[in-house]
Symmetry: D2
Subunit: 379 residues, 4 copies
């Protein structure tokens, strides 16, 4: 089959490799029909994290079940399913509490596994024609009857829509509150969409790209252009000096200050400043324990010069980590089914699998207009 | 009246000053019978924070109501009452949500007020014969019939018992879980007592003083002596490498590493290490936005070299801030009344007000055996 | 001043009575500009509950502060304020936990007080030119700058908007879930509006009046006409036999079955049937402990032939009771201010105070089109 | 193998039947070492609910794994495991939210399955030498090293300890609150034990049997002997007229009033009376949708003359239903492992399997001293 394979930093290609097979009775094989490129794929693409050569990319996957293991009860051949990016077993201490992003058995020795990801277990990605899904009854979300028609919405259930929603959740958000989202990439935009659906009184979205700020505004958010001055101060000014009830970090360790310089503490310290005393901050941008290629020394060892004194004095809370997609995907699926959510609105490109290498290049360079790329392996 | 007054760094004396008066219809005047010295008094005593000369210390106060303002309805002359260290108004946006540690009106321009405290509003402390309490119906906790008999337990409702309890609460603790508490000072010991009452399966308490570790052990905790090696590693070793479900920081910005060197990030980075992936950390040790006299440059500006990468990767949560004492004090009062809690067990010294200067000296030097000092103004 | 006064069953008139005065230092006097007639006023109007003759109606009140007691700090003369229908003290065990609908001091001997209400304390209502508000700093919600322009929205913060919202909250609702609301009177419609704002996937509204069902539909709900058959079965049919995640009772003890016969257990038993196993039910329709004039014997003593066996077997939950308005009114105010909520959309009549008697008559007879009546005392 | 088999009302025997086999790749076979008789077995024993003749009793099971299906990953031959009484699949909409007591696939057409139970699916019970466990990785709790030594404590993790704990949880209990538990059978006693572990200020336990009240008292509870007068009034008198914060129903539909007459609404109406306004009630006693053999007409159709008016007026909450054992069993296991819980303290009899018929007889007749019977199939 054809698959998008990593050859080394900034070098991907579409290669022909062996088809995946049922390896355990609880597996299924999926024929992918839609699979996305994600911002976190770029960490691997850039060689910033250790991704094996020859490994297949892709953790945002949707397709049709073509083969079913002997111990699979719920999922049937022909079902259209969307897979959470996290691989869970369903029976470990974390999975049984719904913390499927921190499965203790699918990536032994640590907590949390994913398809096509550096250091997240042996699972091949889905930017390919076929993919093997373990513990299929647990990991596959069966889609409703309008699955084909709204395929580009439903595929967002694999990662960015629940991840944006998770950021809002981790912040402790209540309907009627205000929220500031740092980063208008796909996850930040999905956080804004989530906050809008969940009844935010005011949503601020911080970014430095015109196209992204425009998308945020179209979703009902107030755009904060960080090129115009300290974004935290802009938010304070817009809220009578008090700040917002809640905040979301949707950029991660490669965040840049308003002059474009990479400073891993920039968004977090802005969030402490622009969030009210007693407020909460959800962090869904990725931060990593070691980053040997980082520009500054603290970041090299995963440390951050964090405004802990102000954070404590304001009595704020922080929640972090990978989204436990299964915790949200059924409810978000129903919002799409009932036309109350349409995450596909941020898609900028729908491309065949063959054009993946070119798409990686544009997306990595944050080229204007390349907001979200969706690949169509069958096309 | 006599009162414990600040004259400058490491210099307090018992002076005669004017008696407090009813200034507003909602005030009452208290005759103090028990008032404690708190670890956070030492920050001011040492001159590390800006406390005005001539100001009266004391935010852990219990006494008898001797005068009542015209608009006070609930509190009567003769009532025995215990005051939360926080001064709340009862009607601002934060007080009405129970966040009385972040009152927006009793210390205008910021959030949160306290008696006898640096930068926490104009309120005189209670290490004195009398004290004025504003918004008395809101701020006074009326004690039950056994108030005199258990006065040394009830006085702990003003701060350290609810603050220790708050640390456990902020960590997201559930009964049946394990918890590690860094610091076996009065607040840390109260956190251990709280965890024990609330059904912890295992409680670890980290410190480097024999007397404090012994008190922790007597409360049912497993003592971790940090002089014997990395305390986080000791906890990992004792929990099969997984760490505890929850952790509490009960030291604050002046925390020292196991070699006795002040390093403000020491306890927090240990907590990230010794807490499970998906676990929670409650921070009730005090951290401050500016600390010009700190030994290291980051701490001077209230920053910390925090292991944010590991924190995020493990999907942990942090809750921080002053305890909202009113949120807990009625329930904790009932635990004392029903003999299910006895926070007075940690008191090492009961002294008349006159001996306060000497007590400050010993407590500040962490002299062995000076765990908790209770002053008796009437004695 | 002029006020709407109760003379006996189905007999109200606009009389001239004494102006209210500041009685305690914590009082303010309000000049009413908008005050609503509520469905619960009808219980008193009909003589079903014991309302004193000569008492002034009105618990949904908005106006301007014209006089301020000496111990009032926050509220100023000239402020435009909206009062929760509950009268709270702010310092009792319930008020301090935010349970202001169950204040223990403003209606001694029981829990909960309200303006102009039977058995809810001595407080006069606001269907008048002026009203006295006790504990004004605690009870008055100060409105934003657009208070006059959106007065008809903001007045709904006194009762029906937070009460509808409370019904949704009591049901345990999460965004993305489905919900069924029984009753499309003002409270039921506000529950639907709330569910829509909070991200419901599907909202069903059950009623038997065309005008009300049309309003529900305009709000994004699916109307269920109970005249067409068992409403619970209609909902089961529309949800694949599973029922909704959540349900709200917004009718109360005078609910009628689909043949128009009063049966106090009708809506509750329908809710047990149409709610999923493990689902939740919020009850904001009023039920009363004694109802001597009820048509059936169980109801006379406040009992209901409730489907407890099915309720238990399905593992459902019920939350009940008066809304604690202060728990929600600030956040809902912000939703109005930011144009994200517009509760005034259900108003059918805006009338001067003099026309109150006529309005009571029409509203009591559920005359078509009389959805919600707003009185304008100054007009 | 030998197994306890139902022959008809009040007629059980130990018969020799076929051994269970691995039927699906996800099954395991357990050799039972401890298996309890539960109060809910008596509903079937008495013929009150429809239990099939020839079916094996037993849903409180602990034993050793003797055979493992090909798709079982976590559970190994030789493991000592305890099974929740609920049979879950791990992947349906309810199981994935932790609501394993309401599994949608293991008892098709309804929600919730159990071993050896009427109308709870096809699963044979464990009062036998061997038992088949489906979805073994999900359903088996692997016990720690001291499993044999504390076997009689660990077996209580199958049902009554988590069920008692669930009652406390459903009531909304917070540490420091008071709670009243109706029924001092095994589940009620476990609720008392749970409340004690979780930091209750006061625990009242209501019953009419001396031996049970004595056990409750030994656990730290205040016994309320309902033979001495209205138990709700006794609790009100003991709490200054206010009632308790929380209440638990641990009897079920066959509850009797204080004169020994079966009245299914007795405990619930007492709970409404003895619980504070704004308090919560957890119902873990079993109530059933149809009860054709009931003494009164409402109960025949699963209805109850419930004090709904008082319930609503007091703003109370009710949570109900089967315990989702997996939601609690790991944490409770750790409490046993750390010697912080010892549920085996209520066991009155340890008997070989052969004596089961006699034990059923005594237990059904509530013979003095027959509190809890544990069977030892291997003995």
């Amino acid at each position: 089959m054809k698959a998008v394979v990593y050859n080394g930093p900034k070098d991907v290609s579409v290669n022909t490799i062996d088809d995946p097979k049922i390896e355990k009775h609880t597996d299924v094989i999926i024929r992918l029909t839609t699979t996305n490129i994600c911002g976190s794929d770029l960490h691997m693409y850039e060689g910033r994290t250790s991704f094996e050569k020859g490994k297949v990319f892709g953790h945002e996957n949707l397709g049709e079940v073509v083969e079913v293991g002997a111990a699979v009860d719920r999922i049937k051949k022909g079902d259209r399913v969307c897979m959470p990016f996290n691989v869970g077993c369903g029976f470990c201490e974390n999975c049984e509490r719904g913390l499927t992003g921190f499965c203790l058995t699918t990536n032994p020795g640590t907590a949390g596994a994913a398809y096509g990801f550096a250091e997240m277990g042996p699972w091949q990605g889905g930017q390919a024609e076929f993919m093997r899904v373990p513990y299929a009854d647990f990991n596959c979300l069966k889609l409703p009857e309008d699955a084909e028609e709204k395929e580009d919405d439903y595929v967002m259930l694999s990662d960015i829509f629940p991840t944006g929603w998770h950021g809002v959740e981790l912040s402790g958000f209540l309907p009627g509150e205000s929220i500031a989202i740092y980063g208008a990439g796909p996850v930040g935009l999905m956080a804004a969409h989530s906050a809008e659906i969940r009844g935010a009184a005011q949503i601020f979205v911080v970014d430095s790209h015109d196209d992204r700020l425009k998308l945020a505004e179209a979703m009902g958010a107030i755009p904060i252009d960080m090129r115009k001055g300290d974004p935290a101060q802009q938010i304070l000014d817009a809220t009578g000096g008090l700040g917002t009830d809640r905040g979301v970090e949707a950029v991660g360790y490669q965040c840049c200050d308003r002059h474009g310089k990479e400073r891993s503490n920039y968004t977090m310290n802005c969030l402490v400043k622009s969030t009210k005393a007693t407020g909460g901050i959800g962090v869904v941008g990725v931060f990593i324990p070691e980053d040997p290629n980082a520009p500054d020394d603290l970041q090299k060892e995963g440390k951050m010069a964090f405004d802990f004194g102000s954070f404590w004095f304001k009595g704020q809370k922080i929640g972090t980590g990978q989204c436990n997609v299964k915790h949200y995907n059924r409810r978000l699926m129903k919002l799409i089914e009932q036309d109350r959510a349409n995450p596909a609105q941020i898609i900028s490109h729908r491309l065949p699998l063959d054009q993946a290498p070119d798409a990686y290049k544009h997306f990595d360079e944050r080229d204007a207009g390349w907001t979200k790329v969706v690949l169509k392996p069958g096309a």
